[in-house]
């Protein structure tokens, strides 16, 4: 039987030309954000040119997920990586708007657009 603490969301990392795409899937809340934080930190240690977080598979995110992305963005800026988000679902976009962070992040419609920008 799977450990219930490990069930549910997954985080996939894909190296592409020009950067890395991280794809979490499932709800990103306080139970999941530590795993996302770890994945993003690991990617950023490699100082990729671009980091794209594809949120197309994330139907829900709370402030712990937002905080994780803010922290990653700050690390990325310091290390010279261009970080962007893409494919936000409506509920996830609304939390960025409530937190007034939609202008702080570079947000694109697709991973391809984010990688080209």
């Amino acid at each position: 039987m799977a450990n219930p603490g490990e069930a549910g969301p997954t985080i996939r990392t894909e190296r592409v030309e020009g950067g890395v795409v991280v794809r979490p899937s499932g709800d990103v809340d306080l139970n999941v954000s530590p795993s996302l934080r770890q994945a993003l930190k690991q990617v950023l240690q490699g100082r990729p040119e671009r980091l794209v977080v594809d949120l197309s598979g994330v139907p829900y995110m709370d402030s712990s997920g937002v905080a994780t992305l803010v922290e990653a963005m700050q690390i990325a800026r310091k290390s010279g990586t261009r970080m962007a988000l893409c494919s936000l679902q409506e509920r996830v976009r609304s939390i960025f708007e409530i937190a007034r962070l939609e202008t702080v992040f570079a947000i694109y419609a697709t991973p391809e657009e984010a990688l080209r920008a």
Binding site: G5, D27, L30, D62, S63, V66, Q74, A99
Partner: protein, 160 residues
């Protein structure tokens, strides 16, 4: 808390149960004919409130109690009734964590872009009334109220 809640559940302060708690509250709000947007906002507020208790109240220790109570303000429709008397949903979150002065529970300035500290801002942004108070004895109580607005034309008001 003087009113008798229609639903009262006890959970442990384990983030594993956040999804179950917010989905339960959202499902009840749907049955009370809150709009989909309002149900999402209620779920988010409950999630943020529970996160704050787990992180700040209990210091991320996973084995402490949290109580969630739901009180439909105005009552609930009887089976088969055409009128829905529910005017609002009152949600009460209680814990046994350390007590703090409610006046010190504030959202941070949003201009200061940094990780964390957004929970209280989000709760206040999506709920109509938010009150923090000390419980009698020990712990804190958060009372949140979301008013119900009739769905706009075209929105499915059928309970799911």
């Amino acid at each position: 808390m003087t009113e008798r809640p229609e639903i009262r559940i006890e959970m442990r302060s384990n983030p594993l149960y956040l999804s179950g708690a917010r989905e339960m509250v959202a499902a009840v709000a749907r049955r009370l004919l809150f709009t989909d947007e309002a149900c999402g906002q209620i779920a988010l507020a409950v999630d943020e409130a529970l996160c704050n208790v787990i992180r700040h109240g209990y210091g991320r220790e996973a084995d402490h109690p949290i109580w969630i109570s739901l009180i439909p303000v105005g009552g609930v429709a009887k089976p088969g009734a055409s009128e829905n008397p529910t005017q609002a949903l009152k949600i009460v979150i209680e814990d046994e964590a350390r007590q703090v002065d409610p006046a010190t529970i504030r959202s941070r300035k949003l201009e200061d872009v940094r990780p964390g500290g957004l929970g209280v801002h989000i709760i206040r942004a999506v709920m109509d009334e938010v009150t923090y108070e000390r419980r009698e004895g020990r712990g804190m109580r958060l009372i949140m109220i979301k008013k119900r607005v009739e769905p706009e034309e075209g929105h499915s008001g059928e309970p799911r």
